[in-house]
Symmetry: C2
Subunit: 758 residues, 2 copies
């Protein structure tokens, strides 16, 4: 296979560097001191019979976190981060994730529960493993790295070669080359990335094969780790021999199933090995990697990129000769695994040769400087074992006294980190907070998510064959096309609601200033609001709270409104307090009161200090990356203070409420206060009725209410509807300044997938 | 009742001038010569058991066209125009609407069919009328004018008076005053607006009570018209006496039903007169008016406004004394009706006094100058009978030899006028053509329409209790909220369609110029389209139809695309012809080919002349008020000509196709060609599947097809989907340049109201 030549002569370098990447990361749940817990897999993570992201490996305590495949490693890492944040924030308060591969604080064997999966076969298989290997050996964790070559690259390269007759055979040959070369040179990755130099004596049931204080490069990849009996031999000369010899091992009873073959490369493409011959290899799974405890999620992006180019290198190299070389590779791996990690490896020369060849490849591929620097850095580690991951780890273990203490400390740090911006998914912070909250719940419940367009907040959700699309957190197939169009138009909204019998402030529309002013007699002596027909954000609105008393004031307000729109409405002004009702289907799920930006005096601090104190709330920030906005002290706020006879330096009395704004928008520092339980039921039913009248399923209804404790009356003195909003905000209900949180995103999921009740 | 004082002292003048107005207009269907037809009521007008706009009065031939009530008379007239345009365009080719009240060309009595309504009671009642009055007398037509006082005015005036204890009694008193004063002074309107000076002798079965050549002011309102027997007397002293005496007439058998009481004022508010006492008078119906043959739809807006202020005058005047004055009014009416219309009326002084009082009222109300001029003009007609409607009419009849000939000529003119812009509803031309087409069909089929917001193309439709909203012709409750959001985003659309297995050109998105150019090797040698992610109208698009061959061209195209958007797509270019598929539900209803602006030579005319000739097509205009756009001869077109070696003065050979544009948009003069019947069924099914994949009910799917006669193959060489459009245009299918019209608006109605199958 003249792959180098084909790539070189046909400008395929870019395609060759493309591919698809997925990660699977195992780890143990532990208590605060680092001991593995014996609690069941948390029920909050839904059902493992379908969960695509959060699974258990061997034991109930052993989480397996799985990213979907992505064309960019960066995206795979964003998923890894998101899944971790979901898990860490959902675990019981006293549980953590152990960041090292070798287990610590192992419970008595009888207390270790095999993963209690729905399928009895799966449980039985784990019981077989317990019996054959002992439970402790199964408690080791690692990272599996899934890699698929660019399909387009394989197709193009196939079209340009003459050796193979069909695409499938060519593709299988590529993956066999990748597999065999990897198995031959995998020891290099082990030398650089191994992180299991030691283990508690309990792991060996007190009979450690290691000398007192002996350190190794990787217990996990050594013969003392998670390996098959030496009797198990699978032949790698060809895909055919691979499949046949693997089947033979199972037939002979050396393996209970094909999946018990613990090779560091698994070829993927079907349920059984034989399927690979039928439909071809789809991708390969590399299982060599120890958890990196210094990476919060077990592996760094740099190392993942390095592994990618190492894999490309295995394809780029001249072919090796099959099973013979694979055996050499395995023996080399075992040897390196048991070397003292503080010493140079016996195979340094070979390692340096291979990495140098990869550097040459990077030049030929015109790869990024960043990538070349990364390989050079790894190359340099052959001369200095202290620079390897093991080097750093051993130092840290010394410092903490044991890898268990080190692991416990890091686990606590990582959990704390995951709570820093508890209302967000850090890696997807480019999306709106409400979409992040929904995404969080979807990962937690195990619904497949595809990010169709992050800039547009567009998700595709799938559960079994049931497909749903969501935009901006709550725009879905469950709402009608016409409903938001009705709500977008204030005039139409009022007509529709009035027709359905709801209390709507009467209004008259005008298209010219002259026409509006000529109708002044209709409004004289009335409390009215004058506003542009379709602009938002309060622009151009004038309120005559008492009554409009002279034509000049009226004309001025009309003129201001016409600056914002071609049509202007003069509307009855309602007296009372405005509340936002979040309606979903037949229920009002949340009621919110928005209060203008304010601080409450304590007799000690100045207004300025009180604002600073209030702004330390982690919920407050820029208002788009946070649920609430910091209170400003700009011109408008100072004017507001002045009206109360105050300045920013005044020290308000204890319990004195200082208003800093007239408007109640959250976006100008207002407070959000949950009032769901305080609100009289009658208004909640009204809000539902209003949503129904517009055919809306998800709707934010704004009502002005005179007294929320009294039942609604059928007249405008009791209540009135101001407007209805499609795609209503959810974050202010989920993370209110005061009162109970209402996790509306879960209600959205229940609406979309009623078949999964969480 | 001190109404003048209340209005004056409380600034109620504006409210007093408000109200609600509806018109009902009867007229006979005739043949080209003016003879009344004996064909049944056209089935295209749907079912008269519910039709709100198009009914029949006494006979099958006698149309009754009904506007809904409107707060502005102008709007009532827009409806009257629209209903007429619908009727005139829907009538059989050889039928017209007779514009005069008195019937002409009456068929033998036995051939006149009473209106065949679903309810046997209704037919029976008409048979009773035939027996009692003779069929001919029932064939007279007129206009009924419905007027409701502003509800707010009545409420305010009630609150300010002390005479009446409850609102209902006060309101009833207002309407009784209006009724009685109207009946007292109605002769004034008769003098000014009557238009039935003569009738064919056949109407009197050859025994005319009139002298040879005698003309009268109004046969219709005279004792020879459509009046009750003199025995029928209903007492107007109070609403109570009115109801009781009316009931007594029916009990005595003088009337078969209350509705047989042919007063020129009917009080409305319930099924039976007695309901008025229960629930109060809601509005009054004034039945005095002859058809004005010079107004295409039977009455002019000016006269309707004059009647409004005349009615206000009847309220403004001091009270009259009930039944006694009503009797005087009736006798005066009969007298004036039989006066010679060419002479002054005997009651001139009284008429001038009343109109002068109305002029005083107009001043007090601060009414418009236009209105005052109108009343002054009417006032002047007392001195000069030739200026009355009758005056003009008599002259015209003389000119045409008979009122039948005059009527036939005007009927033809009015029908031709209604076809002038046959794709529009003239009075609602401010709305989009597609909304006008839908509105047309709704009026025709008899579905209630409310114009919620004309600027926003927002309609509310109601059939029985079934309510639907429509925006822009086809945005309804039948589509899901998420579907247009998917279609709005090209990237999401492609992902959704690719996932569902449709042939989608592959594309790669970029967010920076550098990034895109760095990926040039992926596209080298391929036919690609480079386009901004979300802009429209073809801006920023570059097509490499053959293949992109050098990096500089590619970079230039990328840069151009980035001028229009922050994200740019590089997409496979598909070879074939683009067709638009209009999908509704499970069916492709129309397929359209759009051809760039062009003319075809005849060997005689120059390009300029050919363009002028093609532009005379009534479908061509500005492209928004017409289905097609006129071809321009601007810079772009001249450049296009130059490429073909032509100028605007060149004379192309016979059948030579001259391209005037490269793009096929209708908005730049392109032709629309219906291809529905030519298109292979397999593509129609694909379009349906594509709409379904996005959850869309109404969808415009753009496919590129290699050969429309060959079945679709599952690869991009055969076909590919370019994009899908929500709210797809309908006019280009309804009025194509070439090929069959597809009345899509009817399909929309069938979708919304499956219970009515037309």
């Amino acid at each position: 296979m003249k792959l180098q030549q084909i790539i070189r002569e046909n400008h395929l370098a870019l395609l060759f560097q493309q591919g698809c990447f997925g990660l699977e990361k195992e780890s143990q749940r532990i208590g605060i001191k680092g001991n593995i817990v014996t609690t069941p897999h948390p029920a909050i993570f839904g059902n493992r019979s379908y969960h695509p992201y959060i699974q258990t490996d061997f034991a109930e305590s052993q989480l397996e976190l799985i990213t979907p495949p992505n064309a960019k490693l960066e995206d795979t890492f964003r998923w890894l981060s998101a899944i971790h944040e979901v898990v860490l924030r959902s675990l019981p308060e006293d549980e953590y994730i152990f960041p090292l591969s070798m287990p610590a604080g192992l419970p008595p064997e009888e207390l270790i529960q095999e993963a209690q999966l729905d399928n009895p076969e799966d449980v039985k298989y784990r019981e077989h493993l317990s019996a054959n290997y002992g439970k402790y050996k199964q408690m080791v964790s690692g990272i599996h790295y899934n890699f698929q070559l660019s399909v387009e690259f394989v197709e193009k390269a196939f079209a340009l070669q003459t050796e193979y007759q069909d695409l499938k055979t060519f593709q299988n040959a590529l993956y066999m080359k990748l597999t065999n070369n990897f198995l031959r040179y995998q020891w290099i990755l082990l030398y650089l990335l191994a992180a299991t130099p030691t283990v508690e004596s309990q792991y060996f049931y007190g009979k450690s094969p290691l000398a007192e204080g002996q350190l190794v490069r990787s217990l996990r990849s050594s013969p003392y780790g998670y390996v098959n009996s030496p009797d198990v031999v699978v032949n790698h000369d060809s895909l055919e021999s691979y499949v046949e010899s693997l089947e033979a091992q199972v037939e002979k009873g050396l393996l209970i199933a094909e999946k018990e073959f613990y090779s560091n490369v698994r070829l993927r493409g079907g349920k059984k090995a034989r399927d690979l011959l039928e439909s071809g290899v789809k991708y390969a799974e590399f299982r060599l990697f120890d958890l990196n405890p210094f990476a919060p999620y077990g592996i760094t992006l740099e190392d993942a990129k390095f592994i990618h180019y190492f894999l490309l290198g295995m394809l780029w190299l001249e072919e090796t000769s099959g099973q013979k070389e694979v055996e050499i590779g395995k023996q080399t791996l075992y040897h390196v695994a048991l070397e003292d990690p503080r010493t140079e490896t016996a195979f340094r020369a070979e390692g340096e040769t291979i990495l140098t060849q990869i550097l040459v490849m990077l030049n030929e591929l015109n790869a990024s400087e960043e990538m070349k620097a990364l390989v050079r850095e790894k190359l340099s580690q052959f001369a200095d074992p202290r620079k390897t991951l093991n080097g750093r780890l051993i130092k840290a273990i010394e410092q903490f006294g044991s890898y268990k203490s080190l692991g416990a400390k890091l686990a606590q740090d990582y959990k704390a980190q995951a709570f820093e911006r508890f209302y967000a998914l850090s890696a997807f912070d480019n999306m709106e907070l409400s979409t992040q909250a929904l995404f969080f719940d979807l990962i937690q419940q195990g619904i497949n998510v595809q990010l169709l367009d992050e800039n547009d907040q567009f998700l595709a959700l799938q559960f079994g064959n049931h497909l749903e699309y969501v935009k901006n957190g709550n725009m879905t197939s469950h709402d009608q096309y016409i409903s938001p169009l009705i709500m977008e138009n204030k005039v139409v909204t009022k007509k529709v609601l009035a027709k359905a019998g709801f209390n709507v402030p009467k209004s008259v529309e005008f298209t010219t200033i002259e026409q509006a002013v000529a109708h002044y007699p209709l409004f004289e002596g009335k409390a009215v609001v004058i506003k542009p027909k379709s602009t938002n954000y309060g622009l151009g609105i004038t309120i005559f709270q008492q009554a409009v008393k002279n034509r000049e004031d009226f004309a001025k307000a009309i003129e201001i409104a016409f600056r914002e729109d071609k049509e202007v409405m003069v509307e009855d002004y309602l007296i009372g307090t405005e509340y936002r009702f979040f309606v979903l289907g037949d229920e009002t799920l949340a009621v919110l009161l928005r209060v203008p930006a304010n601080v409450i005096g304590d007799g000690i601090h100045s207004v300025k200090e009180l604002v600073e104190m209030k702004n330390t709330d982690p919920l407050r920030g820029d208002g788009s990356r946070t649920p609430l906005k910091k209170i400003a002290l700009g011109e408008i706020e100072q004017l507001q203070l002045k009206e109360q006879g105050l300045t920013v330096d005044s020290i308000p009395e204890k319990d004195q409420v200082v208003q800093l704004r007239a408007n109640s928008n959250i976006s100008t520092g207002g407070d959000s206060i949950d009032m769901t339980d305080q609100m009289h039921e009658s208004y909640k039913q009204l809000a539902v009725g209003i949503a129904h009248a517009m055919g809306a399923k998800v709707c934010g209804v704004d009502l002005i209410i005179q007294d929320l404790t009294q039942p609604a009356q059928p007249n405008l003195d009791s209540w009135g509807v101001i407007e209805a909003n499609f795609n209503p905000m959810m974050m202010m209900h989920i993370f209110p300044y005061q009162g109970k949180s209402r996790r509306l995103t879960k209600a959205i999921i229940n609406m979309l997938f009623p078949e999964i009740r969480s």
